[in-house]
Amino acid sequence: MRRRLVTVLLAVVTAILVTPAVAVADTQGGETLNGQIRKPETVAGIDITVFQGDEEIGTATTDSEGRWEVALPGPGNYRVVLDEESVPDEFVVADQPGAEHADVNVRPGQQRTVIFVLAYADEASTEPSPSQSSDDADDGAGAAASDTEDGLAAPGVSSNASFGTKAIQLTVAGLLYGLIIAISAVGLSLIFGTTKLTNFAHGDMVTFGALMALLVSGMTLFAGLHTAVTNLLADVWLLGPVLGFVTRPMVLGTVVAVLLGAALGAFLERFIWRPLRKRNVALIQMFIVSIGLAMVLRHVLMVAFGSNRMSYPDFQLQAMLRLGPIAITPRDLVLMILSVLVLVGVAALLQFTRVGKAMRAVSDNRDLAESSGINVDRVTLYVWTLGGALTALGGVFYGLNQIVHWQMGFHLLLLMFAAVILGGLGTAYGAMVGGLIIGLVAQLSTLWFPSQLMNAWALGLMIIMLLVRPQGILGRRERVG
């Protein structure tokens, strides 16, 4: 079972076309069998042969992207065999679904995907990047959904770990997961509070942040800057290492991503939401606008960055630190500390600064705030800016902890909704509390239940909350009537 969790899921491959594309396939003609085999990177050079009865129909070898395709003479039943000899030594073919699909039915015009799964030959080889997440879908098939998070359950939990150790490890993983959800969800909650808008595009703002950091951290310019600084200041006490760290491409990338996220938030508010509010567009319509916006943003990012799973070049492959019963990578530890600092910072901002107080006032009662002289439009702009920045940061952290993928934000969105509803729609602190609970529940559920369902438990909790206390933990009972 452990082997399944840590290794098999690391290498699942599917390439299922998006549903609507099924319709198009009907009109394209030309039956084929195809698929894609990828490790965290893709695996090329694997031979796959298609038979009908005993007759060999065709052979294909996976290309540099792990893709293969065999054209068929027509619809019918086929046998697809993966040549185990051609699999590189470090991999083996996973037991499920094995190296042979005996009875693959292809109907007229179908371009059918056949799934082969590889696993690492040596389980130990997965240890260096334990929270490197699993891999499966592309092309819009969100198989990514569950399996992406499966990897998260893994850190440092060895197969023979006792229940107690596992519980501690999962608590740590859950806290980190929860903190990331909380950071991203605070903006969602504040935006809801100030404008009553449920922003469906929030998840894709997470993806935006993560991808911007990827873009920037990959730029040679910054790599060059980093080398220059470290070389120049290598011998300077304190300043050298500090500047060396600060100019690491990933750190700079994070900063730029947060700034761009803030800019995106401000841009959306200034050029979409404010004009719509001025036009007196009804909330339900705004709601649908945010869905349209989400679809545009998500798929533009997909076309621009591709549908592959990526990871940041920096801070990968770290050795575990052992702190008593807890094993954690330095990266995750730093992420946790930074997340706590950021949340405390946001709380301080809301509690003690003028802008923060104004945000809470608008969130509490927009009309009252307006009548008491607060410039509501400006405060809303600040909220979107802050929300955009936090969301981008959440995206970078999520990407560091797991992987970067064009659908990462959408999956986080549902958990953010759960967090926000759990804590109380519209309250910033509620989003923080809710985020932590959701993260913990999702992770700890894997102690007893299949990890594929970890998000299902978190969302189930949200539904129970709606039944019992719809206003959330920190929300106030609403006035009706």
């Binding site: 549903t19 009109t27 959904a145 649908i288 679809m295 998500r298 369902l453």
Partner: protein
């Protein structure tokens, strides 16, 4: 570029079985949003349980296809209850969030490893629709003329699915033009007012959710019967957003809105697809790979949704005056 070929493909797509399936599911969504004002963003969840109702019953348990359809419908009723009980008393956006979340949870459960023996996990199920094609009354061959011809199989699927669309539209018309429909429309306008007149708003909303959900389940069942296979990952949230775009394009709150919307939508999608494909093939467009056409198409549907809801919320056949009255 072969424009005639593009148009021919688009026409086939517009009257094909998939357009009919989407029309059927959008009829359900029209019940929810167009008439009752319920924000259901999880219609794909109803399609999923409907599709699996058929596939699991027949493929896994060896039940007759007809029983499979009934089980699919029963699953939709159960899903509507799960969705409605916690949320229908709350503000509209809670239902929106819950529906999208529950549809996604349902997908996660149906693809989960521990149910593999029943649902086939991520690989889904096949060979459950043989009976359907055995009932095909059309002798095999090609029907139609020239570019607009369909195989006997396609014709049979189309006849049944468009037949369901027709029956569905008629049922919807009867329901809406009755005192029941008046209450439903009243709830869309202002549920507190309707409650103050002694109507049990919760029950009406639940009935609406169930009816619309059953249409979704039928659509899901016909979708997988047409494909002859089912996989969980074809039931992504995007499907729901397509349905919304279809409904808003055709005109929400109109009996024929979803039907017209689906036909026009699939025509346009097919045209953009073919044009993009041809442009890429001839290297006119180089920044998009052909594998990314699906993504571009999703983005275009997103744009359509945005533009429609802001500038033409009444869709193609809605009444603009009626729509404007509703805005605040």
């Amino acid at each position: 570029m072969d424009i005639l070929q593009v148009l021919a493909d688009a026409t086939r797509s517009a009257i094909g079985p998939v357009a009919a399936v989407y029309a059927l599911a959008a009829i359900g969504l029209n019940m929810h949003f167009g008439y009752t004002g319920l924000l259901n963003f999880g219609q794909v969840g109803f399609m999923l349980v409907g599709g699996y109702g058929v596939a699991v019953s027949v493929s896994t348990f060896g039940l007759p296809l007809g029983v499979g359809f009934l089980i699919g419908i029963a699953s939709a009723v159960a899903l509507a209850l799960v969705l409605g009980l916690p949320t229908l008393r709350l503000r509209a956006d809670y239902l929106a969030i819950t529906t999208i979340a529950v549809a996604e949870v349902a997908r996660l459960i149906y693809r989960a490893e521990f149910l593999r023996d029943i649902t086939g996990g991520v690989y889904g199920l096949q060979s459950f629709s043989t009976a359907f094609y055995q009932w095909n009354p059309f002798p095999s061959g090609t029907y139609g003329f020239g570019w607009l011809s369909f195989s006997a199989r396609d014709l049979w699927v189309m006849t049944v699915t468009w037949g369901l669309v027709l029956v569905g539209s008629a049922v919807m018309w009867l329901l809406i033009h009755s005192p029941w429909g008046r209450v439903i429309k009243g709830i869309r306008e202002d549920e507190d007012a309707v409650r103050s007149l002694g109507k049990n708003v919760f029950v009406y909303k639940m009935q609406s959710l169930i009816i619309g959900g059953v249409f979704g389940a039928l659509a899901g069942a016909m979708l997988v019967v047409n494909q002859q296979t089912i996989t969980p990952d074809q039931f992504m949230p995007q499907v729901t957003f397509y349905l919304w775009a279809i409904l808003l394009l055709g005109g929400a709150g109109r009996t024929l809105g979803p039907v017209l919307g689906s036909v026009v939508m699939w025509f346009l999608l097919s045209v953009t697809d073919s044009v993009l494909r041809q442009l890429i093939a001839t290297d006119v467009i180089t920044f998009i790979a052909s594998s990314e056409i699906g993504g571009v198409r999703h983005a275009l549907v997103g744009v359509a949704l945005l533009v429609l809801i802001i500038f033409r919320p009444q869709g193609l056949i809605g009444n603009r005056k009626e729509m404007l009255i509703n805005v605040k």
